[in-house]
Amino acid sequence: MNVSRSRWLVLFLTLAFLAPLADAQGSGRGKRWSARTLELFERMPVQDGGRVKPLDTFAQFRLLRLNAKRRFTAPDGEKLGPTPWLLDCFFFPELARSYRTFLVRDSAVLEAIGVRVEGRKKSDRYSYDELAPGREKLFAEGGRIHAMEEKLRNGTETQLYALALNVRDFEDLTHALDFTRAELPTGASEGLRSVFGTEAKPGVAHFLGLLPKLMAELEARGEAMSAAEREAERVALVALNDELDAAGRRSSALAVFPPAKLEVEEWRFALGAFEDAYAGAPEPLQLLTGWEALERAKDDPAAFEAELAKLHGAVSGIAERRGEYAKIPLEVGFYRWDFFTRALVSFLAAFVLLCASWLAPRTRWLVKGVWALSVLGTLLVVAGVTVRCILRDRPPVSTLYETILFITGCCAIVLLVTEGIQRQRIALALTPVLGAAGMFLAMKYELKEAALAGDTMPSLVAVLDTNFWLATHVTTVTLGYAAGLLAAVLGNLWLIGKMTGLKKGDKEFYRTVSRMTYGVVCFGLLFSVVGTILGGVWANYSWGRFWGWDPKENGALLICIAELLILHARMGGYAREHGLAALASLNGLVVAFSWWHVNNLGVGLHAYGKTEGVLRALYTYYGIGILIVLGSFLWRLGARQAVPAPGERLSARQTPAS
């Protein structure tokens, strides 16, 4: 027994000893990035997608696009997030190429480019090094597919194209700091050697800094040079310029050089920074020097941290003067606090307690727990949406992604308020279910946004750039969607409950659900009608026509008509409890059609949200919705037939006596 224990001890000690060694050997960067380095780097501002954002946001969405997750495990076992991954891409590209960060959902994509990796699943992650043998074929295929109309591409082609884009983006990132490693031919002529010396230095800042001196030197020597010497100088300068230009073009992944002139909005890529430095601006040269110092210090964590602090100070100083830095720390905090994942966890935990409360209905603390966690989840959604509004100076809804957050938040609030009034645990039971479903959908759609827009806070097209109409029409109509979906959930609860025998015989329960459904439909109609007309008014004031039968307008109109139909059918006595539930359930399908489907039709003024994969999910929802409604009527038919007629009941009673 003791021998065995000591063997295990030796094994653990050996592993403990070897682990850091393996880390040092495998990573190529000796140690992990320090917390301070990560903090400074993630707060570094960069202009991307039309706005200035933290490098952390940039890294998150780039990694999300490639990997479909924000974290991954490096070959040495280190868990890496977006910022360390981006740091590795910049400073240790060979290492980054070994990370399995490329998600390939179907191995047929790899077969198409002639790459074969043994022992992998059909859907798996691959490193750049593993994909590299098929690189040429991948880009050739990417070029071919690019020329095809989107709707003509099959599944494999769509994935091939996405992979080609991802590989290209990744290559750009790994070359982002090529200028810091460039070796310019500064010793190729007499004139150059007299200024730069004989020893070539990596980077471009040294050359750009001494450029005025070189010009003066050549000017001074100009007359004294022979024609041959002059030609030699010219050839050397052309070669140097070509090399500088090539280095700048390779380093084109990031616009991290804020222009010193306030009136210039566009941040500069490396090549632009060279041009500005060449024109004599001191700031770009300072920043170029800063990036080169980082590259030189990358193997010394303390020195790297110090250089990064200096560079961060310089970049953020300029950005601050331009009024573009103030929200950077808040945005970093927004993603660090991860409101929506935490909200999902809260709702899921509330759901677990809810299930437990069904098993032990008299345990009051379980119900209180459901309340607390549901409120917490809702507050997290509200807080996240609020921070997004502050970050973008926008009302809560301006993209499809934001509609999901807003709808989830509104549904949760309405349910909690309803529960506060009713105290029947019906609305309370639905809060965590809807909250978790909404947050889950948001997380899935975030991946689509990462692939399509590279951000969930993208710049808006000119016509949408109006806070007044976004705050009025878009918010109101989205509230209408929320109410329509909530009514559908309640309707489905009634239908499924009846079919499965939930609370059988409890008429009050079903009456309450029905009243809630009716109330939510009324609430939905108010917002849908006002929101739809406001949309028409916006169109009238922006394009000159109130109504153009555009698919998105029609979608909103369909919701209004469906809800009017529900209310008129109820008032006319054509739909009672069952009919109301069925119609509310079907209205949910209409909301889904208006919310997502019309954007995927590919026609109309609102075809701005076309998203791959959404149609399949929609058809599934339509199918399930229709089955539930049809099923409920079949169940009712069956239930009616199962009740014996009075005469039959009499004969049944008589049978034993006879």
Binding site: I421, R423, Y541, V603
Partner: protein
């Protein structure tokens, strides 16, 4: 029960309301899907501006069309929701909502029948005092030998579009020395040299005939054409020509010692002022090719007075019953020093602000209808809970 009362009962019934709402729902849904293959204009004509819809796919169906449905709905709303409805404090909200919907339907009716819309496209430095329709056509005829401003004789859209399948129409005027005959209107066509490979539907003029093409999904892209015959009343000389809407120069012929010009073009509407485009700017989001704003600086010239105005997205120019909106620009491949053109959508709509008013009325009505119900519900819940607590 009298027949009138029974008729009123039927017209104002919930049953009819439900059927009409269902019809409108189906029309809107099918009309939306139809756009994918056939374009908005065709969908609009077939589903929303028709009396009846006969549909073969995706489901074979005959439905009352948009005009009939909305007309009946307006009647149902008036009879059921405003005349026959029980008037009480409880139904005030519903009546207000119906009033708002009636106002909205009325605004749609006014827009459909009494509005003009089109566009005005100007290059920087150009000016114009008229805009032209996207879809409607007209034939203009004028004395081309005259110098300076000319008087035009216009033949409107309605007198052109039915000139199909051999139908001809003659036009005469005491001031014209000839009789004009138009025929063979084609919605989308192009002149082609007549060869043995195709059967021309129009007469062959100077070796060319109009070849009919399929109609474009985007109706404003269609290029109409027709055939013209002008017979001199004095000499009987006949001139035959083809008119095509894209021709740069009008067709000309001699009659009565003058040269006459004829052109087929989009219907033009005069404006009470002249617009001169001074400068057009398109700004992109920094580092992107996505437009952040489109702006046109124009001068509005009226009675010799010039007023500088900026027209941009969401901020149109409203004056003289017209509204000019920033619509598009070009050429898309223009270099930094190339002159740009700006296109304004122009609308003359007497019911311009009615939708906003109806929105306010409907909003108030819905609040009046639903808020009391909500309060009643909350009070009922409170008292039910209080009863429960007392009994416990």
């Amino acid at each position: 029960m009298t027949l009138v009362r029974r008729l009123l009962n039927g017209l104002g019934s919930f049953g009819l309301a439900c059927l009409l709402l269902l019809d409108l729902f189906l029309l809107t849904w099918f009309g939306t899907l139809y756009q994918v293959e056939h374009g908005l204009h065709e969908a609009q004509k077939l589903y929303f501006e028709s009396w009846f819809v006969v549909q073969s796919s995706p489901v074979p169906l005959v439905l009352p069309g948009g005009l009939l449905c909305m007309g009946l709905l307006a009647l149902n709303l008036f009879v059921g929701g405003m005349v026959r409805i029980q008037k009480s404090k409880r139904t005030v909200g519903v009546m207000v909502v119906h009033l708002g919907i009636a106002l909205m339907l009325a605004s749609g009716f006014v827009k459909l029948n009494h509005s003009d819309d089109g566009h005005l496209t100007l290059y920087e430095g150009e000016a114009s005092n008229e805009f032209q329709s996207y879809f409607l056509w007209e034939v203009a005829l004028w004395d081309a030998s005259q110098k300076g401003p000319v008087e035009e004789h216009l033949i409107p859209h309605e007198q052109l579009i039915d000139l199909t399948e051999g139908k001809r129409r003659s036009f005469t005027s005491s001031t014209l020395p000839f009789e004009l005959e138009l025929a063979g209107f084609l919605r989308n066509c192009q002149p082609m040299p007549k060869g043995p490979m195709w059967e021309a539907e129009s007469p062959v003029v100077a070796g060319y005939a109009l070849e009919q093409g399929s109609e474009d999904k985007e109706a404003e892209r269609n290029l109409a054409g027709l055939t013209l015959r002008a017979r001199d009343r004095a000499t009987g000389a006949l001139h035959e020509d083809l008119l095509w809407s894209v021709e740069r120069h009008p067709a000309t012929f001699e009659s009565g010692g003058k040269t006459w010009a004829v052109s087929l073009r989009h219907t033009r509407y005069p404006m009470p002022f002249t617009i001169r485009l001074e400068d057009f700017r398109k700004e992109d989001h920094p580092g992107m090719s996505m437009a952040r704003s489109f702006e046109s600086d124009v001068f509005k010239i009226e009675d010799g007075r010039e007023q500088k105005v900026r027209i941009q997205m969401n901020e149109p120019l409203r004056d003289g019953g017209l509204v000019l909106f920033q619509s598009s620009w070009g050429p898309s491949n223009a270099g930094p020093k190339d002159a740009l053109f700006s296109t304004f959508s122009v609308v003359r709509n007497p019911s311009d602000h009615w939708p906003l008013y109806s929105c306010i009325v409907i909003g108030i009505g819905l609040l009046l209808a639903f808020v009391p119900k909500l309060l009643k519900f909350v009070r009922a819940q409170d008292s039910a809970r209080a009863k429960l607590e007392t009994s416990a």
